[in-house]
Amino acid sequence: MRIPCPHCGERDVSEFRYGGDATKTRPKHGEGDLKAWHDYYFLFDNPKGPHTEYWQHVLGCRHWFKLSRNTATNEIGEAS
């Protein structure tokens, strides 16, 4: 699997680490009840197909970015 780092260009997946679901919205500080925070932290969807995720080029430039990836086929789309 090859991932396009917005800074370094296309590189091998072994240089990256997955950083979680990028479609979730974090409750605002001081807002939301315990359930809202619980759901944000502990409940995850497990989509099959197109997905938007956080990735970090951890062994490269250490940049964090959003990546679209198809979880069924590993087809890689846009990075931003």
């Binding site: 370094c8 260009g9 590189r11 091998d12 072994s14 062994l59 490269g60 430039c61």
Partner: protein
Amino acid sequence: MLDRRSALASAKPYVSSVLQIGEARGFSLLQVAGPAKAISPITGKLPTKVGTALQAQGRTLMRTGETQFWIIGSENDAIATKLDGVAILTPLSHSRTRIFIEGAPARDVLSKGLPLDFHPTVFKPGMFAMTGLHHTPVLVHCVNENRFEIYALRTFALSVYDWLTDAALEFAE
């Protein structure tokens, strides 16, 4: 004056008639973060893109981030004093060990562990990459066709050296 101690003092020498692996000592490394237009009047023209180093005033300049650069100079380089107040400076000379590998089989050895395309038409002299070897970050610089310099974290330097010499056993004597 205090002597700089090598992290590879206990390393087993690698002997081969076609390939040399060892430590390239005697350099300074400064990480500079700030706008290129403030830094370049002092350092000379900075690279606009990542992956290709430039030479200026006897130093090697690399772009390692959006607004972050590596300046590699001679051991007693005083560039940091000139950049003080201009950019954010992180002296890294003591945090990295520079390991060289030179010879015709160098590209074959590096290909065994680094996830990069080492074909001579792709990874050319002057180019560099921030990548990983055995889960530790390294910067690999192609100095000329058959010579590469690896900037490894000092505490991982012996591990990186051992990995390299192990991967190069087939060319050893």
